[in-house]
Every structure is written in C-alpha cells, then in structure tokens.
C-alpha cells in the first residue's frame, strides 16, 4: 500500500476531467430516461394487475415474472445482441447500424422495462391496500368501475406508492452502471477507463463513489418533498412527520 503514489490532481487534469464529467452526464441521462419509461409502464402494469380480466392479468403477470426473474445484465444482452436478430431484417439492421447511440437507447429500454416491473408491483400493492372498501364505497355512490379507478383507486393508490418509489429511483441510478457492458461511457465506465490509463484508481473510484453518494442524497431529498406533498392525511406514513 505504501508504494501507491497519490495524485488527487488527476481528477481536474485535462482531458480526464471532461471524460468524468461526460460520464456523470450519461449516467444521469440513462437513469432519467429509463425512469420515464419505468414510471409510465410501471403504472400501467400495476393497474392492469388489479383488473379482473383473466387475459390481461395473465399477460401482465407473465411480464412481471419474466423481468423479475432474469438478471438485469442478461436482459441487457438480450435487448442488445438478440433482439435485432429476431426482428425482420430491415428493422434489425436499423437497430444495429443506423440508430444513433444504439447502446444508450438499449440501456434506457432495459433499465426502464426492468424497473417498470418492480414499480408495477408497488403500484399494485398501493391499489390493493385501499381497493376493497373504497371500490364498494365508490360503486355504492353510483360510479362505474372505470370511474372508481380514475377518481379513487389510481390517485389514492399512487400516493400510497410514493415512499416505495424513492428506493427504486435510487436503484435505477445504481443499475445504470450496468450499461457499461454494452459500451455506454457512463460514470463507472469512464472512471475505470481513466484509472487504467493513469493508474490512479483510488482517486478515480473515490470520485465515482462521491458522485453516487451525492446522487443518492439529492434523490432522497427530492423524493422527501414529493412524499410530503403526496402524503395522505390519516395514514400511518403521515403520523411519523405529522404537525
């Protein structure tokens, strides 16, 4: 250990500083774009899992089980290497050759669909927690079932889900590091690259660790604001930080 020669200045040396900064930007882009897909798809999946139609339930259930039980890295490889081969020749060709930043979009879709199945389960749990009594109450007041979903179950169920979303949001940033396996030059990939060039691995991995810590802190604080605004009066989660 004593033979290690420290050089913290490496972090602000050109061109490495720009590589690291661009790595941070790509990490944030991949995670945020994936999050958009995850939230949208996850909400649909969560609601669909509470429906009565057996066909819908079976399809959505199969989706959730598949994406939950295959390692994320394998999913990324399937999207990146296998999907273009299974598509019609022209579409596969477009994915492989013509789509700009194909590895970025692949990472976004993989992370998005993977996180969506986890969010779907949270949304389902949120809706199921209130469904029984409130569905009956809603139907009794003369609402139709779609109206019950639109005005009661979805808005209220969603607000129950918010605390659980915080950890999924943090996870998508952490999981975005897997994008390096298909060549996305995000933060972990960039710091490893500079570490290999300069042999200053400790400084670089420390920098990466600090950035991930900052991301976690920022997400936690931002979600706490969302949690406070989405809080349901009278629920246990509001008692903790109550007036």
């Amino acid at each position: 250990m004593e033979r290690y020669s420290w050089n913290w200045a490496i972090l602000v040396t050109e061109p490495y500083v720009y590589w690291i900064l661009s790595g941070i930007v790509w990490t944030i882009l991949v995670a945020l774009a994936g999050w958009v897909i995850a939230l949208a798809l996850g909400s649909v999946v969560g609601v669909a899992r509470t429906l009565r139609q057996p066909v819908v339930r079976a399809i959505v259930g199969a989706y959730v089980e598949t994406f939950r039980n295959v390692p994320l890295l394998v999913q990324i490889f399937l999207w990146y290497f296998v999907l273009p081969e299974l598509l019609p020749a022209a579409a596969g060709q477009w994915l492989k050759r013509d789509l700009p930043h194909a590895e970025f979009w692949t990472a976004v879709v993989s992370l998005g669909t993977y996180t969506a199945c986890r969010i779907g389960e949270q949304v389902r749990a949120g809706i199921e927690a209130i469904a029984k009594g409130q569905t009956h109450a809603g139907l009794a007041t003369g609402l139709t079932l779609p109206q019950v979903y639109r005005h009661i179950l979805v808005p209220v169920g969603f607000r129950m889900t918010v605390p659980a979303l915080t950890s999924e949001f943090i996870n998508i940033f952490k999981n975005s590091a897997l994008a390096l396996t298909i060549g996305v030059l995000e933060l972990t990939s960039r710091t490893r690259q500079v570490a290999e060039y300069t042999y200053q691995a400790i400084e670089l991995f420390t920098a990466a660790t600090v950035v991930y810590a900052l991301i976690t802190l920022i997400v936690t604080f931002a979600m706490r604001v969302v949690e406070r605004r989405a809080r349901l009066p009278g629920m246990i989660q509001s008692a903790r930080t109550g007036p």
Partner: protein
C-alpha cells in the same frame, strides 16, 4: 434465422462448469454475507454509540454504491493491499460478501426488532438471563420472521453474481458468452441463459412463498 437446440446440448458440459462457478459464488456469498451482516446487525443494535454509528455508516455507504463499482474497487484495491494479484473470482467474492452484508444486516436487524419488546421483559421476569432470553425466545422468532426476506435476498445475489462478467470470471453467463461469441451463436446462448435463470429463480421464489405461508408466526 434458425435456433439449434442440438447445439446447446453439445455445449452443456461447459455451461455446467460455468453454472458451478455461479452456484459457488452464490453459496459463499450468502454464508459470508450473512455472517458479516449478522455481526453488523448486532453492532447496529448495540447501546455503545460509536459502534452502532459505524455499523450504520457501513450499511449506508455500501448501499449507495453500484455493485459493479464495488467490484472494480476490490479488484484494484485488494491486490494493492495484499501485495499480490488475487484474480477475478476472489475479488468478486469479497465484493459480494461486503455488499450483501449491508443488506443482510438490515434484514437481521428488522427481524430482531420485529419481536415485541415485551417478550424480553417477560423472559427476564421468568428468571432467564439476557443470553438465555435471546437464545430461547427472541432469536427463534426473529429467525422465522426474517427467513423469507433472507431467502429472497439470496435469490437476488444469485442473479447479481452474473456481474462477474466485468472481471472475466467464467460464471454461467460469461461461459455462455464465450461459447456463443466463438461459434457466432449468441442468440441460442443468451436465450438459454435467460431461460435457466428464469426457471431457477421462479422455482426458488415459489418455494420461498410456500415456506413463508407455512412458517409465518
């Protein structure tokens, strides 16, 4: 495009070798992770503030790192510290143990905290010592409460071991990747890997659910 099942059968011996590495990493990771995690949980619940703060800091730190970054950290740091190369397998194993310990710590801690405090008092009131109360009353109940979550986390680790790909360890996924790249048969290989992981993880989580129904307090 044709999918050739006979090709997969031909390559099964090599894939099985990879699967053995995956299973070994998972098993050793669970044993080491649970042991370290339990020690951390005891430290976190300790009345001695510095100890519980240190354990809390450990848990927070390791939970904010992407596992891949931790693998890179260890892959680089451990040889520097030991003064000799240790290879991808041991680097990855150490990373899994350190990483999973943070999660196992929280599982064990909430398992212990799930047993009502009154039971400690009740145990002490009947004349048992603190150690006896822990051993005979609290821990058996805590274990039953935490077992399903422990097992689910173990399934997660089984899936996470595929990340050894980044340091070139020949686990199940990497073995399939090497074979598939050599023969230009990535579709068959990745497809097969996905099916096997899916089947194993599904079976495992179904058994955890069944276990949970039977042993829940």
């Amino acid at each position: 495009m044709q999918i050739d099942l006979a090709y997969i059968v031909d390559e099964l011996p090599l894939l099985w070798k990879g699967m053995q590495v995956t299973l070994l990493l998972t098993l050793l990771g669970i044993v080491g992770g649970v042991a370290l995690g339990a020690a951390l949980a005891v430290a976190r619940l300790s009345r001695f503030r510095p100890l519980s703060l240190a354990a809390g800091l450990y848990v927070d730190l390791f939970r904010l790192l992407p596992l891949i970054l931790l693998i890179f950290w260890i892959y680089f740091l451990l040889p520097l510290w030991l003064g000799r190369p240790i290879g991808g397998f041991y680097s990855a194993l150490v990373s899994f143990i350190l990483y999973e310990a943070a999660y196992f710590c929280e599982i064990v801690r909430s398992g212990i905290q799930s047993v009502r405090r009154g039971q400690v008092h009740a145990g002490l009131a009947t004349g048992l010592s603190y150690g006896q109360t822990m051993r005979a009353i609290i821990l058996p109940q805590a274990l039953r409460n935490m077992l399903p979550v422990l097992l689910t986390q173990s399934i997660n680790l089984f899936k996470s071991t595929s990340l050894v790909y980044v340091v070139g360890v020949r686990d199940f996924l990497t073995a399939a990747d090497v074979i598939g790249t050599k023969d230009n048969r990535l579709i068959e290989m990745y497809g097969f890997v996905a099916v096997v992981y899916f089947a194993l993880c599904c079976a495992a989580s179904l058994s955890v659910n069944r276990l949970q129904r039977r042993y829940a307090i």
